[in-house]
């Protein structure tokens, strides 16, 4: 139980932070949604569909943020062997995958009026799709290995291999895209964005980030408790075996 001493302090910290953070998320998300849907003007070119961007761009940002978080936590698992690092990485993966999925769905919804079809093999969307596959691989690896310690280290190795590959994949997909589709498509979040759209975008980005952190803290708390239950059960099994012997 020595290794859980530190998580105990973490648990009480989570308990103190969660109510406040929930309030922050509600306020930011409420303001952001209000700004995005009622205050921001429709784009002269894209019309009302521009509002999808207020969800799409923050979700895409958090998709990358989640993977970077996992990679940093992977270093924590492999180098410093911190017990919280693996918990942080494992619980960040489904949340990051969900935001990646949201980015993919909103991107495709936004693409329908723009490109006339739900899915275009646009460089950004394709890279996002590969990132989603990387998330799925990580989650599957965690699920497949029963012993949490071994699962955590295996996933950490995979996450580091993945993070080295992400820029290479991005580069190759961009290359592939220019090869097959020389005309550049409209870039969301490019430099030509109007300031009246920027404020709601920033508020939404902050709201989504706070939401990510909130969900992550709650998931980490659940994971720590799940591991404690597991360790207690194992001790019981061992006691029973010793009583028999």
């Amino acid at each position: 139980m020595i290794s859980l001493a530190n998580p105990t302090r973490f648990l009480s910290l989570v308990g103190a932070v969660v109510p406040w953070l929930t309030a922050v998320v509600v306020i930011l998300l409420g303001t952001g949604l209000y700004l995005s849907f009622f205050v921001a003007p429709p784009d002269y070119q894209q019309g009302e569909t521009v509002r999808i961007m207020f969800i799409h761009v923050p979700a895409a940002w958090l998709a990358l943020f989640g993977y970077s978080l996992i990679a940093i936590a992977a270093l924590g698992t492999l180098i410093w062997r911190h017990p919280l690092a693996d918990v942080a990485a494992k619980t960040a993966a489904p949340i990051g995958a969900t935001f990646t999925f949201i980015a993919l769905v909103t991107g495709s919804l936004w693409g329908k009026p723009m490109w006339g079809t739900y899915w275009v093999w646009d460089a950004r969307l394709t890279s996002m799709l590969v990132l989603f596959l990387l998330y799925l691989g990580l989650i599957a690896l965690w699920q497949a290995i029963e012993e949490p310690g071994r699962a955590g280290r295996a996933a950490a190795i995979l996450a580091l291999v993945g993070v080295i590959n992400v820029p290479i994949i991005k580069f190759s997909v961009d290359w592939w895209n220019t090869l097959h589709q020389p005309a550049s498509v409209f870039r969301p979040g490019g430099p030509t964005i109007d300031p009246s759209l920027l404020t709601p975008l920033f508020v939404m980005a902050a709201a989504f980030t706070a939401l990510f952190v909130l969900l992550h803290l709650i998931a980490m708390r659940a994971e720590i408790l799940r591991r404690r239950v597991r360790a207690l059960q194992q001790t019981q099994v061992a006691r029973a075996a010793m009583a028999e012997a």
């Binding site: 139980m1 290794s3 859980l4 012993e147 949490p148 310690g149 591991r227 597991r230 360790a231 194992q234 001790t235 061992a238 075996a241 010793m242 028999e244 012997a245």
Partner: protein, 207 residues
């Protein structure tokens, strides 16, 4: 052939943790050249884990192993022969090829001695896949003679051996100790080998 060994081995304050649970802690023992340690205890108390910790497969939750003597500069894992539950026998290769590979890989070389040690010489050119469970076990144990290493880690070495082979194993361990080697054995079968110490896991943590 094998030079007399002069290694002594010390374990200080060893603890082992598996899946968030402490299997044992505070283990201490010292083995002088020629010393043997018997590891005993019921299932699931960490006999295999302790041997795998010494071989360097499992990390130590606390404490350290140290070796003193002529070869002390070598990493401990490379001083050890580990014979566990699995025989590491390649079924596609002959008995001789199997042992020749290990003699080469582990930087030994006494192939004939290894074939003779457990009486496998008549089977030398048979494919290892055709051997019975007991013969495969003998093949794994013959590895001990394919390359000289001072520390033998034997995890239930007598499993699936007949009475004559257990005697041979017993004699092999005694011969190794006579040369100044160290043996750390977990077994349920009584051996004639005189164990300098016994480590009973699962009852109380210290020996």
């Amino acid at each position: 052939m094998s030079p007399p060994f002069t290694i002594s081995f010390e374990a200080r304050d060893i603890a082992c943790e598996r899946g968030g649970r402490t299997l044992f802690e505070g283990l201490n023992f010292v083995l002088e050249p020629g010393g043997a340690l018997l590891v005993s205890g019921p299932n699931g108390t960490g006999k295999t884990s302790l041997l795998r910790q010494i071989a360097g497969f499992l990390p130590l939750a606390s404490g350290r192993f140290s070796a003193a003597g002529a070869e002390a500069a070598t990493p401990i894992a490379e001083l050890c022969h580990y014979v566990g539950h699995l025989n590491a026998a390649k079924t596609a290769m002959s008995v001789r090829e199997n042992l020749a590979f290990w003699a080469d890989f582990l930087e030994g070389g006494d192939l004939d001695g290894a074939l003779d040690a457990f009486g496998l010489a008549p089977l030398a050119d048979i494919s290892a896949g055709l051997l019975s469970a007991g013969q495969k076990r003998k093949l794994a144990l013959s590895r001990l003679f394919a390359a000289p290493r001072p520390i033998w880690l034997l995890d239930e070495p007598s499993v699936s051996l007949d009475a004559a082979s257990v005697k041979r194993l017993d004699a092999a361990i005694r011969g190794h100790l006579k040369q100044g080697g160290i043996a750390i054995v977990s077994t349920h079968v009584p051996l004639k080998t005189k164990f300098a110490q016994e480590l009973a896991l699962g009852r109380e943590h210290a020996a």
